[in-house]
């Protein structure tokens, strides 16, 4: 019987166990430590502290402040106005952006390049500049009114300090991001997929409704969530262009804190807005996770 060398331990001779994975994992954790640390100390802890504070009334746990929030007609009007503004502006921006993204997907040449550039232009203009530009253009005695008067129209009513003012600014401000998101989504739909539908007799509306929109569902949801969250938390545009009442929640919050010196109520307003944002944010993360799982 031939001699068989017996290994001295559990590992066969000549083999070594690699510990590379462990050190790689540690290196990975070290890389994310700074952003995670900042997130926890600068965002998570103050948030938890603030949320907890809204439930503490004179040293006792109470939802009194929330009852007050939801029973105050003016506060609820502000919340409704904020959500309506977010919804209407997001849908409008999404519709315009979808049209632009569709045009860019199926067109080429100089005009398409120019439109692409123009659609991304608002991305590089700060909100304060957009707001001032709209005040000067659409406001009383602004350029638009002067132009209308030149052609004999003198009944112009400015949208400045009405809900239409911030709506127009949000629309303009929120075109680039959905154009980028939707263009990326549309690029996933092959030319052949569209041509196959055309070839089988489908006209443009059916191709849009049955071929493009269903395949764009995730991109549309992601873009909607991003715009909506951005709008309901926006301050500069409604502060500069919005009506005195109702107010958007961000302006209302600032006034509650700065003018009314009522930080406890401002905190409750912030928590309610944060919860609404979190719901939409969670929905955004779920959609993104589904997209990633689909891609794998």
């Amino acid at each position: 019987m031939p001699d068989v060398a017996k290994p001295s331990g559990g590992v066969a001779p000549g083999y070594t166990l690699s510990t590379g994975l462990g050190s790689q994992a540690l290196a990975g954790l070290a890389l994310v430590a700074l952003p995670v640390g900042l997130l926890v100390t600068l965002t998570l802890l103050p948030t938890v502290r603030m949320v907890a504070a809204t439930f503490l009334v004179e040293g006792h746990l109470s939802a009194e402040r929330y009852f007050a929030f939801f029973n105050d007609a003016y506060t609820m009007a502000n919340l409704r106005y904020t959500l309506e503004m977010g919804l209407v502006s997001a849908i409008a921006a999404l519709s315009v952006s979808f049209g632009i993204a569709l045009y860019l997907r199926f067109s080429a040449g100089r005009i398409a390049t120019m439109i692409h550039g123009l659609s991304l232009f608002p991305l590089f203009v700060p909100s304060i500049i957009i707001s001032y530009a709209l005040v000067r253009f659409l406001g009383p005695n602004g350029l638009f009114q002067l132009l209308l008067e030149q052609v004999g129209f003198t009944q112009y009513r400015t949208p400045y300090l009405t809900p239409v003012g911030p709506f127009l600014a949000f629309l303009w401000e929120n075109i680039p991001l959905p154009v980028l998101v939707l263009s990326a989504g549309l690029s996933q739909v092959s030319d052949h997929a569209v041509e196959a539908a055309r070839d089988l007799g489908a006209k443009a509306p059916r191709i849009l409704w049955e071929i493009l929109l269903p395949q764009m569902r995730r991109s549309l949801l992601i873009a909607f969530a991003l715009i909506f969250m951005g709008i309901i938390g926006a301050f500069t545009v409604p502060y500069m262009l919005g009506p005195p009442a109702p107010e958007m929640m961000s302006v209302f919050m600032q006034r509650t804190l700065g003018n009314l010196h009522d930080p406890a109520s401002a905190q409750v307003q912030a928590v309610v807005l944060m919860v609404i944002s979190s719901i939409v944010g969670g929905f955004y993360i779920a959609t993104m996770a589904k997209s990633s799982a689909g891609a794998r």
């Binding site: 092959s190 041509e195 196959a196 539908a197 055309r198 070839d199 089988l200 395949q215």
Partner: protein, 353 residues
């Protein structure tokens, strides 16, 4: 059934299709064959209406369809990438064309089931395209076209992304189905074996032009241009000069009753045979292809010559053979000027023609 007349298409000054004309009879399967970029897919897209042509006409059953939009033409196209809609089930993909035509739901369901049965995929009706193999996806794409009963079925390299074994199986299935349904079909491919196996007739295209149209056997035996001869099957090409009816074929003087001048003499590997009076060449490679053996030889001048012989006649490496051509195609300026058949009279070097 289908008449293509003088179709021309140019992309930004570059001609893609030049003056292409041919006809397709009812129930015929015609392959558009040519190398990549020869304009065959562009021509197919012009027939489908997905691409406009600059000039010329497309007639289906005598009706001019040149200006008709793709969604109004009685054609249906299978794409190379199958182009199934990922959000729809197999049955929804197949039934799409019927929904577009406004058929009742019950009729759509019945027709969809029947055509899925035809391509052997009835059990897959509820699956999504992502859950299908490449071959199954391509069969769904075919079913999607068949269900609308097109007058002309157009197929743009439908099997080129599949592996060789699957491709062969699908070719046989398609041929059987096409014959059973008597379906007029145009099939684009760059694979000559695929075209030879499938087609009733082949349209060979090169540089945007239709070079030759004919049954596979005719194209193989009697290519009318140098391009067709070199594209379909293997050829030994010997470029030489004809003087007083004699040409130098790999060092051997051959009598060819053709006008003097530059000439390309082409001979198929299976049309070469050993003969004591032939051109001498040394065996440099022997490849056993199973039923036949491919022998590569080097002539004294350093030219390579291929001979396909029966297995039992395979020579040893390094052996010097003398070979003669049985059939020789002579081309001048790309066009056929003569076809010489065996026995080709060889003459001794220096002897008068």
């Amino acid at each position: 059934m289908l008449q293509i007349d003088a179709i021309t298409k140019t992309y930004q000054g570059t001609p893609a299709v030049r003056d292409a004309s041919f006809t397709v009879a009812r129930g015929e399967l015609v392959c558009l064959l040519g190398p990549s970029g020869c304009g065959k897919s562009t021509l197919l897209r012009i027939i489908s209406g997905l691409t406009d042509c600059d000039s010329g006409s497309v007639r289906i059953e005598g009706v001019d369809m040149t200006a008709t939009q793709a969604n109004r033409r009685p054609t249906a196209m299978v794409f190379q990438s199958h182009a199934l809609w990922s959000h729809m089930s197999v049955a929804q993909n197949v039934g799409f064309g019927l929904r577009v035509r406004g058929l009742p739901k019950a009729e759509i369901a019945a027709k969809t089931a029947a055509v899925l049965d035809l391509v052997g995929l009835q059990a897959f009706a509820k699956r999504l395209p992502a859950e299908l193999s490449g071959g199954q996806a391509q069969r769904v794409a075919l079913a999607r076209c068949l269900v609308v009963e097109p007058k002309v079925l157009l197929m743009d390299e439908p099997f080129s992304a599949l592996d060789a074994h699957l491709r062969k199986g699908l070719r046989e299935e398609l041929k059987a189905l096409q014959g059973r349904l008597d379906l007029t079909t145009i099939f684009v491919t760059h694979d000559q074996e695929e075209a030879m196996e499938l087609a009733d007739r082949i349209v060979v295209m090169q540089g945007g032009r239709v070079e030759q149209v004919g049954p596979p056997g005719v194209l193989y035996q009697n290519p009318s241009t140098l391009g067709v001869a070199q594209f379909i099957g293997a050829m030994n090409t010997c470029t030489t000069t004809l003087r007083q009816g004699a040409a130098d074929w790999y060092g051997l003087d051959l009598r060819l009753p053709l006008p003097d001048g530059e000439v390309a003499l082409l001979c198929r590997p299976e049309d070469v045979y050993p003969d004591a009076k032939g051109a001498a060449a040394r065996v440099t490679r022997v490849i056993d292809l199973g039923p036949v053996t491919k022998v590569t030889l080097m002539t004294e001048a350093g030219d390579l010559l291929t001979w396909t012989c029966p297995r039992d006649q395979a020579p040893d490496l390094g052996r010097v053979l003398t070979l003669l051509p049985r059939r020789l195609h002579a081309f001048r300026n790309g066009a056929l000027i003569g076809l010489a058949q065996s026995p080709l009279p060889a003459q001794t070097a220096g002897a008068p023609a």
